[in-house]
């Protein structure tokens, strides 16, 4: 899916939200994390849409969605906009699949709107306070500094991508074009940095207790080659969430959708079918 594009939009809370929808069946919502946007799911959409009604979204400030700077891009805020989004699309129940901070948004969504979720799948997700994000001193945090540099220098950005992918050969020009596209405009760069600065692990700490008793089945997928997020995150999530399943993929980097898309699809399918 080299020419992947979000081809539809809705207006949620006054902002344009871009998305793509394909397939039929139970609804799956694919939510990306930071540094990426809907393109990260492009290698999963076709296989998933054979069995499901797949919706992939560009979070506010990302991809083709609006990039206002006068609202917070906190995980809480993203969850609210997502709720509005599925309401507008009249989606009653769905499977939430989140990657990176998308997984964090999934946790908040699952706690706040449990009645909407059939299941929650988290791929290399942030959680608790393991993700070293502190407000105010944001820029002193190495990962955020790296992200800042990356907005100005494609070389620095490629380093981030390269370190996030296990099969280095898959870091192609085409993949870099997807990653770099938002950095080509001042607006895209500003929104990206705004997103980075709005990340606050307080949002996730506040719901840590509520996670334990989530009513829906939860799948945690960990790429063991992810050097950005500690494996303690998935371990703690698995320990604490009662109805959770943990799957580890040794050949998965942080951007494991690039490394093992088929494997991820297989695991999701198996998981969702077993909880039907």
């Amino acid at each position: 899916m080299d020419n992947f594009k979000t081809d539809k939009t809705v207006n949620a809370r006054g902002y344009k939200i871009a998305y793509h929808r394909q397939g039929a069946g139970e609804v799956i919502l694919l939510v990306h994390g930071i540094t990426t946007y809907s393109f990260i799911w492009r290698n999963l959409i076709n296989s998933l849409s054979e069995y499901y009604d797949v919706v992939t979204i560009d979070l506010i400030g990302c991809g083709d969605s609006d990039k206002p700077l006068d609202i917070s891009y906190s995980l809480e805020q993203h969850a609210k906009i997502l709720y509005e989004f599925i309401t507008i699309l009249d989606i009653k129940k769905f499977h939430f699949i989140g990657h990176d901070v998308g997984g964090g948004i999934g946790q908040i969504f699952a706690v706040n709107y449990p009645e909407k979720l059939q299941s929650l799948v988290m791929i290399n997700s942030v959680a608790y306070d393991f993700w070293p994000v502190q407000p105010i001193i944001t820029m002193r945090t190495p990962i955020i500094r790296q992200l800042a540099m990356a907005t100005l220098d494609i070389g620095a950005f490629k380093l981030i991508v390269n370190r996030g992918v296990y099969h280095k050969k898959r870091v192609s020009q085409e993949l870099m074009n997807f990653f770099w596209k938002p950095m080509k405009t001042k607006e895209g760069r500003k929104a990206f940095l705004h997103f980075a600065k709005c990340l606050n692990n307080k949002d996730l700490m506040n719901i840590a207790d509520d996670l334990k008793t989530l009513p829906m089945p939860v799948l945690i997928v960990r790429g063991d080659a992810d050097i950005y997020l500690s494996s303690s995150i998935c371990e703690k999530l698995h320990d604490e969430i009662q109805k959770s399943t943990l799957i580890r993929i040794p050949t998965g980097g942080h951007f494991m959708q690039e490394d093992e898309p088929e494997l991820i699809v297989d695991h999701i399918k198996t998981f969702l079918e077993s909880h039907r």
């Binding site: 500094r145 800042a148 100005l152 220098d153």
Partner: protein, 614 residues
């Protein structure tokens, strides 16, 4: 033991903290290096002031995490934000206001301004952040001067409650500002250079253009001057010739008059003596005297005709009818000669002096008759036809012809090949020439602006071709169309002074008819002309020079100029004396021009138009 462990732990923690600090410092340095290199990249690649500033500000903001960075200038007692980068907003800040207290401005004159601890507005710095909740904790202002921005400053504001944040990076910021200022000046210089180059290019182009123009003018002037010189030389030559001929003419005329008296007496007495004489030998002698006096009379007649330099009359007549008349006159001489006439039917009437043309025809036909005096089957062919805008007549004979070496002299007065000059025995011995026949013919044709050419072969015959310009009674269709195309003056009130009815008739017609449509008053002598001029308000005067009844064209001109210095006057004349005086007149009076008779209708109208345009 546990104490030891604790101590070691503390030591290790200390080491870790030192290493962390070092790590931070290294990070800072790496970042600064990256920032400087990114800015160097921009400075290398961007030549647009605004883009350069905005790119630098963005990089500083992102890499040094400064929320608000701007490049401003003092202009007309106001602070203008040329470029702004605000990390917290996507609104355009360029029209938002910055106010600096006089104290801050004074400090800026000294150098950098630092304000921290959230005291910005108290210290007199107010920035409109456009409804954003951004509240600066520290502000750093650095003044700069470039060629295009004489009073500029960079301003950096941040809300992080850290007093040292901006101070720490001030050196780095100063470095970057230095690089930016240098580049901005370079851009200005480049622009100036570009402008200068463009100016130079334009100047060179203009100069080249004007040089080419001047060169052209010079070339034109040189050629004009050469032409004028040649004309002067030619005019001088003609004047000399005229003077000589005029002198010769005057002398010859006077002599001819006296000589005619002498001849008259001789002829009378010879005639009387013949009546009384019965002696055959004496009678024969007296008859010879009588014949020779008649010849002498013819000679003086031609001589007087040549000496007289009168303006040709202008009348319309048919050339072939005139030829018929002359043939009839020379009927006796043409006996025994085969005469062939070829008259083309469409030949229009010629506007010319009938006497002069008749005289020319007599001379030409008589020459032909003389030339065939020794020819076995003598033949003369006379043709009339039109060629281009000319009426042509041809007189050809199959006689003795003219040797080539004499051709250049045949129009000279007193030149003849007949009589005792006939060294080749081409003519019958009784034939004598006056030497003024062809000179007169040439003069007549010239006066009518016509031309004469000769084709001859010694011993085989001679062909004379005379052509006279056609003066039409009306404008042709093509001439009318051309006049319509040009900016034609029409509807003027014109005084037309012309005594010859045939000419005034034409001029009146073409002036009053379409496309000119002038109102024309006609005067056929000077007196009437002056009277009409006194009583009317004319726009233009068409003035013949030779006029009857005491007042000529010059008299009329002088009368007009007494009261009106600028009314255009077109002289029409063929008089040689006048041609000399008009040249001087034209220098003095720019509202005067001249056309020599006979003139073509279109030339007449064009001359009038030209004068009316002044």
């Amino acid at each position: 033991m546990s104490n030891d462990l604790e101590k070691r732990c503390q030591g290790l923690e200390k080491t870790i903290s030192v290493l962390e600090n070092e790590n931070d410092l290294l990070y800072e340095r790496a970042e600064e290096t990256l920032l400087i290199s990114l800015i160097a990249d921009i400075i290398r690649s961007i030549d647009d002031r605004d883009l350069l500033c905005s790119s630098i500000l963005e990089r500083i903001s992102i890499l040094k995490d400064i929320q608000y960075c701007a490049c401003c200038e003092f202009k007309n007692n106001k602070i203008i934000q040329n470029q702004v980068y605000a990390a917290f907003s996507d609104i355009n800040f360029s029209d938002s206001e910055i106010k600096l207290s006089s104290q801050v401005i004074e400090e800026l004159d000294e150098g950098l301004v630092f304000i921290t601890n959230g005291l910005c507005s108290q210290k007199g710095i107010n920035i409109d952040f456009k409804n954003s909740d951004f509240d600066p904790f520290s502000i750093y202002i650095s003044p700069f001067t470039t060629k295009s921005i004489p009073n500029g400053f960079f301003i950096f504001a941040d809300d992080e409650p850290d007093e040292t944040k901006l101070r720490i990076i001030s050196m780095l910021l100063q470095n970057i500002i230095g690089m930016a200022v240098e580049k901005l000046d370079k851009i200005t210089l480049l622009e100036e250079l570009k402008q200068l180059n463009a100016d130079l290019d334009r100047k060179i182009k203009n100069r080249t253009k004007s040089l080419i123009q001047t060169n052209k003018q010079l070339t034109q002037e040189i050629s004009d001057r050469k032409k004028a010189e040649n004309e002067t030389i030619e005019a001088q030559r003609i004047a000399n010739e005229h003077e000589k001929l005029s002198l010769v003419g005057q002398v010859a005329g006077k002599m001819a008059h006296d000589f005619n008296n002498v001849l008259g007496i001789i002829m009378g007495n010879a005639e009387l003596s013949l009546l009384d004489c019965n002696e055959p030998q004496t009678k024969k002698t007296l008859e010879l005297i009588y014949k020779q006096t008649i010849r002498g009379k013819n000679l003086t007649k031609n001589l007087v005709a040549f000496a007289k330099d009168q303006e040709p009359k202008q009348e319309f007549f048919k050339i072939n009818e005139k030829i018929n008349l002359v043939i009839d006159l020379l009927k006796k001489d043409l006996e025994g000669i085969e005469l062939i006439r070829e008259d083309k039917p469409d030949v229009p009437e010629v506007l010319a002096d009938p006497g002069m043309i008749e005289h020319a025809l007599v001379n030409l036909i008589q020459n032909a008759i003389h030339a065939i005096s020794m020819t076995v089957n003598p033949k003369i062919i006379i043709k009339t036809y039109c060629f281009k805008d000319n009426i042509c007549f041809v007189i050809a004979d199959n006689g003795c012809g003219i040797p080539e070496k004499h051709l250049q002299h045949i129009y000279e007065p007193s030149f003849t090949l007949k009589g005792n000059k006939d060294v080749t025995g081409s003519y019958e011995t009784t034939i004598k020439g006056t030497g003024y026949g062809m000179a007169n013919v040439k003069k007549y044709i010239d006066r009518h602006k016509g031309s004469i050419s000769i084709k001859t072969e010694f011993g085989s015959g001679t062909v004379f071709i005379v052509s006279l310009p056609i003066i039409k009674k009306e404008l042709s269709k093509i001439e009318k169309e051309e006049l319509h195309k040009s900016e034609l003056h029409s509807g003027y009130h014109i005084l037309l002074v012309e005594d010859e009815a045939d000419i005034s008739d034409i001029q009146y017609r073409i002036l009053t008819q379409d496309p000119c449509n002038h109102k024309v008053d006609l005067a056929n002598n000077g007196l009437i002309a002056m009277d009409l001029f006194n009583r009317n308000n004319y726009d233009f005067v068409s003035l013949d020079y030779i006029l009857p009844k005491g007042f000529n064209g010059m008299d009329v001109y002088n009368h007009i100029r007494k009261t009106n210095k600028t009314i255009p006057i077109l002289f029409i004349s063929g008089n040689i004396e006048f041609l000399e005086s008009i040249r001087e007149l034209k220098h003095k009076d720019m509202y005067v021009d001249h056309l020599s008779k006979p003139c073509k209708n279109i030339d007449y109208l064009n001359s009038i138009n030209k004068l009316l345009e002044i």
